[in-house]
């Protein structure tokens, strides 16, 4: 993939953040997964979520994308609380992009149809317009020759890049990525991470759950360590990954390097 020299707008430190999560609580039965959790993502910012398996990273991302109903707290996107049941959830979801660990491409559709589905159904683009945009996006993620292919004919890395294209083609205000490389063979991880780093340089606002610490160090302007349903420690990658202050964070990082 070519490295484009797009000048990213500087992260805005002034004004309200694009996304502000506060006091978020989510439980499954008796099991409290998110407990009074606070988190902010600035416009053009990139926040990386780390934490042990089962610490609630996926649940948090799904809650933000309104795929899980939360017990309490607020999820403000540009100041509007999406957790309020009277907010149009379909419209809110259409403003965010979500990429899943297992790609979740639609198996009965070609790659092109996967990517044009939402532009046509949700964003009211006509077929020609949607296909042109999809081809451009697929070319960008290096899948120009796989447009007519079906998901099961692609490698994992190609499927994940198609899934990213499917999310990006709708110009999301916020991109949510849930361990998008953990299902990939090691040699395919690089191609996906490189694509994400490029999006980052272009100023895409991202919230990323990942176990790729080297990647986190490169792209994140903030790293949040999730533990016991909250952001246990957060700061710049150098602070959290380089010199963690809290015991649990140190233990988690030590286990990763072990």
């Amino acid at each position: 993939m070519s490295t484009r020299s797009t000048t990213a707008p500087p992260p805005s430190s002034s004004g309200s953040p694009l996304l502000r999560v506060s006091g978020l609580r989510k439980s499954f039965g008796d099991h409290v997964v998110l407990d009074d959790l606070d988190l902010e993502v600035a416009e053009h910012g990139c926040v990386v979520l780390i934490g042990a398996s089962g610490s609630g990273k996926s649940t948090l991302l799904r809650a933000i994308d309104l795929l899980e109903e939360v017990d309490d707290g607020s999820i403000e996107l540009r100041g509007v609380d999406l957790a309020d049941p009277w907010v149009d959830a379909d419209a809110a979801r259409a403003r965010m992009g979500m990429v899943f660990q297992a790609y979740n491409l639609f198996g009965h559709m070609s790659v092109l149809d996967n990517v044009t589905l939402a532009p046509r159904l949700v964003h009211g683009r006509d077929k020609r317009e949607a296909e042109a945009a999809a081809v451009e996006m697929l070319t960008r993620v290096g899948l120009a020759d796989k447009i007519r292919a079906y998901p099961d004919q692609l490698s994992g890395g190609q499927q994940q890049r198609a899934a990213i294209a499917r999310a990006l083609v709708n110009d999301p205000e916020l991109l949510l990525l849930d361990e998008v490389t953990s299902a990939l063979d090691p040699e395919l991880v690089g191609e996906v991470l490189e694509l994400l780093a490029e999006l980052r340089r272009e100023g895409m606002t991202m919230l990323i759950a990942t176990h790729e610490m080297a990647f986190a160090r490169d792209v994140a302007d903030q790293v949040c360590f999730l533990h016991e349903g909250r952001v246990h420690e957060s700061g710049t990658p150098a602070q959290v990954l380089g010199g963690p202050q809290r015991t649990r964070t140190r233990e988690f990082l030590a286990r990763l390097h072990a």
């Binding site: 799904r62 994308d65 795929l67 379909d90 419209a91 979801r93 259409a94 403003r95 965010m96 992009g97 979500m98 899943f100 297992a102 979740n104 491409l105 639609f106 198996g107 009965h108 589905l117 939402a118 159904l121 949700v122 964003h123 499917r166 999310a167 709708n170």
Partner: protein, 286 residues
Amino acid sequence: MTTWQPSERALQRAAYRAGRRRRSFGVALLSTVVVAALAWWVLVTSPGWERARETFFDPAEFTDVLPGIAEGLWLNLRVWLIAGAVSLVLGLLLAIARTTTAPALFPLRAAVVGYVDIFRGVPVLLVLLLVGFGLPALRLPWLPNQAAFLGSLALVLTYSAYLSEIFRAGIESVHPSQVAAARALGLTRGQTTRRVVVPQAVRNVVPALLNMVVALQKDSGLISVLGAVDAIRVAEIAVTGSYNFTPYVAAGFLFLLVSVPLTRAVDAYNARRGWRGARGAAVGIR
């Protein structure tokens, strides 16, 4: 690229396998002949065989009645195709109706559950009799009262209920992550059902649907109880008075002529899409 010369070892293995195949074929042939001979012997030595052969397998009677029965079978085939197509469409609509969540549609969902419970729970013969003799008693002026129509209607009632359960199983088999992906893109619940869930659901249950369609081909013969002049009714009329049951055998023969190739075609299709029975994909394992 080098051309492959089978090794001495490979040739020995091939010869061994060929030998085993010849042996297997011989054993299969022998056991078939023995079983068939035994069955034949039991049949022809049974005390009533002479009588039975005259009343069930009379060649002259067979060729006599065959054209008439074939004409009747044409009605069965038309009933099968029309009732099958209507049942498939109705079954899918019933299954989709059950997935709706709008409060205004609650009566619809309740009605569908009741419908499916009733028509799955009542024997198809009973549905036929109730529809065939009950509906005309209402004397609805707009309701056609031909036996073939009422019979088809009864078959549609029963089969659409069965098919809707198959479609429902298909809808439930679609992984929730597919729904999550569609909703994450901003698709509404209805759009997700139509564009993502139903197409995958139908694909997942095609083998089961085809088996029901084959079963309907046989059950189309039940319309004869309403007096529709189908293959079975023609045979029945021929039997009446003569006390020779060869026409029934002729009707059975004609049904087999349709259903066996149909079953084979369905099996072949299912095997091709990778849906196999107990034997199949694992057959090559030594």
